[in-house]
Amino acid sequence: MPSGRLIALLGPALMLAVGLGFALGAVTALDLGTVRRMGPGAFPLIVGGLLAALALVALIKEWRAPGEVTHPDPKAVAGVGAGVAVFAFVTPLFGVLPGAALSVLGTSVVTGALGWPARLALAAAVAVGVWGVFVAGLGLPLPALRWP
């Protein structure tokens, strides 16, 4: 099936792009220096070039015998992403404890895990646990609660 092969090629192709990107960036924006006294661009150029070359080999191998590509699980990715994003939005405004509690809600709502009572209980428990371990116990300098 051709579409499966195309998807399998995408992995090495991405690596090829990254390798070329770093190498081109080194050539265009950085000083390469001389062989004896190398500039900041020399090493990324070498490694980027190596990555691109290996990616080409992988691309050919994949073309001959396409390997398996795991199917993504959008719900899990979105759920974890939502948890992190909620934490990153809420914490600077209201502090770590609301950030932690709402992050738990974000993850569990998007993944569809647990019912609402369990979600709320877990969110509260995590907030209390975070306070107990990190703020009171270890004394990390975290803003526990704040107002915008």
Binding site: V18, M38, V84
Partner: protein, 503 residues
Amino acid sequence: MELLDNLALGLATAATFENLAWCFVGVFLGTFIGVLPGIGPLAAVAMLLPVSFYLPPETALVMLAGVYYGSEYGGSISSILLNIPGTPSASVTCLDGYPMAQQGRAGVALFMTAIASFFGGIFGVGVMVGLSPVLADFALRFGPAEYFSVMVLGLVAASVVSGSGALRGVMMVCLGVLIGTVGIDVNSGETRYTGGIAQLRDGLSLVVVAMGLFGIAEVMTSARGATRSYAGQKVTLRGFLPTAPEWLRSIGPAIRGAGIGSFFGTLPGTGQTVASFVGYALEKRISPRASAFGTGTVEGVVVPETANNAAAQTAFIPTLTLGIPGSATMALMLGALMIHGITPGPRLIPDHPELFWGLVVSFLFGNLFLLILNIPLIGLWVRLLRVPHTLLYPTVVVLICIGVYSIDNSVFDVWVTLVFGLVGYVLRLFRFEPAPLLIGFVLGPAMEEYFRRAMLLSRGDAMVFLDRPGSAALLGVSALLLIASALPIRRWLAAGMRPARRD
């Protein structure tokens, strides 16, 4: 006796109340993480890195190391009871451990695992005590060319053993090295690849990269796959003690397992998983009871467990004496030391004897703690396996966020962690194993530095890496490894495993 003086110094460091307490915390959390399938020791060490910034360096290392080898003990518990390895290196333990549990002998399997792990761990510590000072003395003669080459060897070894094969492994190493170049170049003061973002000028933080690639990405991978609760599994622990013949039969395999484990642990780049696979396959090839392997025989759990625990201890040898981490987790330990201003390498033992010997002695305490945690308290871990995963994963996400945020109280770091989480997830989809990436990321800056220095000293002659015998030998071994990875060694060892997997 110099050794006794050193051990006394180590005892004085390790036996303080604070260090003992953190050692216990470390091994306890390690067992906890090890028991839970899906969350590896790497994510656990990454999560605890920010906490370790607030501890003195010895204490920080004692705790992080405890998490690391503690997870080796814990990983086998879910292997035996559920046939699901808690850590990758415990997957071999499933082969005989799970059949034993099915025969109602889970208690014996768990008991033998704890004893074997203890034996392997102590054996590994012994090798570490004997070998580290010798290796460090030798490495003191290294110039920049040798350092560069030994790093190449470490990276090649890590790529060769990575699950996705040598080619993809080396690609990941390159990617890691490239990511490591982001930020200010120390030699010229120029900024590289920051895209004008001010927060990237100091480079990407190790914690951010590791938490993203392993914490966030691992949770994304396993969050919904493992929602099945394990509550239905019946565990019978009656009959804890193995029979006398079983004890006797285990002595030889234990010593061979520990030897093989110590060897593979010491090699930079290879780790416990390789050690336990090779140990099991070789034992099966030489044992007179080969046909019993895979049907639930004690040797089948003793060999992989002694091997992976011995390897877990000896992995510290190249990490501490050469500054070359054997695995991604070791790369994090290396990062933890560097954050505390200590450069691992041949000068570590003479410059920080209390750190090195304190760590060695803490391993002895830690293994004793683990023996206590794993035999009388085994019921606790069995119960932990019944906690539904839907409660666990949202909590782990929060812990990762807080760990990253606490470094600098910076939300930017949290966002970058999410980006690396997505990167790690996509890489896994395309069969790119991110562990070599992290090792490349940690070693990259030093590698560039040594490379540029060696070229400067040789007046721009790249042959310096082949002219100096030490450097040439190391590069030669790297080349041999790459060639060997193309040979069907894997298949030969796999043939030793195959009959055992008849499910």
